[in-house]
Symmetry: C2
Subunit: 247 residues, 2 copies
């Protein structure tokens, strides 16, 4: 049996105008859909693209990982440029490499890093496209306390959308930190995997705690009760970035 | 005679999807056109918006200045929020203030600052939207030498588009510098005013000099000969930002 080359790409995208990563019927343009369409045209055969994470509509990526097998014969170092010439400017291939034939972008992923950006500055068409604009800064002490409750292995059901049902709700949060840089603040979440809308529900809750509307101990209450109604509102998609997938 | 209040706004916009600042017939959406339309709806009377600079299609602004007279009775400190609620997210009002009745955003402008951003990093949907991506960095020595020839008062005809004809081609360049910050580089140009496409033609020429394709003395040759054919190609609109207007 002969295996076709298995290619792994790191891709970055501005998710603003897309209906998310995963191809779906009857929705707008998706990252997966566009990649498969362009690859089909280049390789002259249907290509199935596997993504590490199914980012939602409006969510961005700096380090999404995809893989696909095909009989494409191009030298691997030329693949980013060839694909970038046919992809829209909102999607860029950062690098490409050949990987073992059994590599699978989703199954092989060990950890993922999402960052969520907040913006506290004056009105800006640039920052607001890529962040959640808030009228005031967060209390660092309160946020710090809440983040400490998040690290470790927990049942994150209370921080997930209902459609996560059926998946293993126990996730290990390796890192949950908050930093400020000038007029921006950002959360970094590193976990083995994330439930549906988990990063945005965590952010929504942490922002309420940071603004003094809720206590840091709300995190413990949500983790223990698994009650989805206790979490803060889901933070808007535009502030969320899939930063890195660890293998 | 009673004068209507004259309001000055500082506005920022992501020019990517617009046909430039100035309202025109039979083109796409313009910043001026959208501002006038939204103001008309809010104030219930036609409003004529005057802009300090007529940025081209695709050019961005962090500090464009506009003014308009109207019978709008809203407290001036609430005007940014009221307008931002009706403007698209690509256009943001940063601040508003009442100014003397004879203030005119264009005629009163003493100097303008444009920045032009270059990008040298890996493919990125975020940076490339707001910069000119180049395959290698510029030689700082060569650029520095060329910039020194630009400061002072010169006939800038050679760095202008033909449609500038008829305007005073003598401009005073108060500041022309180049800086690098990580994977980005940027030119800062401060002049009393700019001819049509001047900032982008200067950048195109400086980039050719910085990449070693032309000598720094080409600047002197273009200034002296006023020959438009000697200048480098016009740099793409997406890297140019109107940063500030000085009064």
């Amino acid at each position: 049996m002969v295996f076709l080359p298995n290619l792994r790409l790191i891709i970055a995208y501005d998710g603003t105008t897309f209906a998310g990563f995963q191809k779906q019927k009857n929705t707008g343009l998706t990252i997966q859909g566009i990649l498969e369409e362009k690859l089909h045209k280049i390789v002259k055969e249907p290509v199935k693209v596997i993504g590490a994470g199914r980012t939602d509509a409006g969510v961005h990526a700096l380090g999404q990982v995809v893989n696909f097998t095909s009989s494409w014969k191009a030298p691997v170092e030329k693949i980013p440029q060839i694909l970038n010439n046919s992809l829209p400017p909102e999607i860029r291939v950062v690098c490409a490499e050949e990987v073992p034939e059994d590599f699978h972008a989703r199954y092989w992923a060990k950890k993922k890093q999402y960052n969520y950006y907040l913006y506290f500055g004056p009105p800006s068409p640039f920052y607001e496209r890529y962040a959640w604009a808030l009228p005031k800064r967060l209390s660092l002490d309160r946020v710090q306390k809440a983040l400490e409750y998040l690290t470790g292995t927990h049942d994150f059901t209370g921080f997930s959308a209902v459609s996560s049902s059926g998946k293993n709700p126990f996730k290990t949060m390796y890192k949950a930190v908050y930093q400020e840089e000038g007029e921006r603040g950002f959360f970094t979440f590193v976990a083995d995997s994330f439930l549906y809308k988990m990063a945005r529900k965590l952010t929504g809750t942490l922002v309420e705690i940071g603004l003094g509307k809720e206590e840091p101990e709300l995190i413990i209450e949500i983790l223990n009760s698994k009650d989805r109604n206790l979490a803060g509102k889901t933070a808007p998609a535009r502030g969320l970035f899939l930063m890195k997938v660890f293998y």
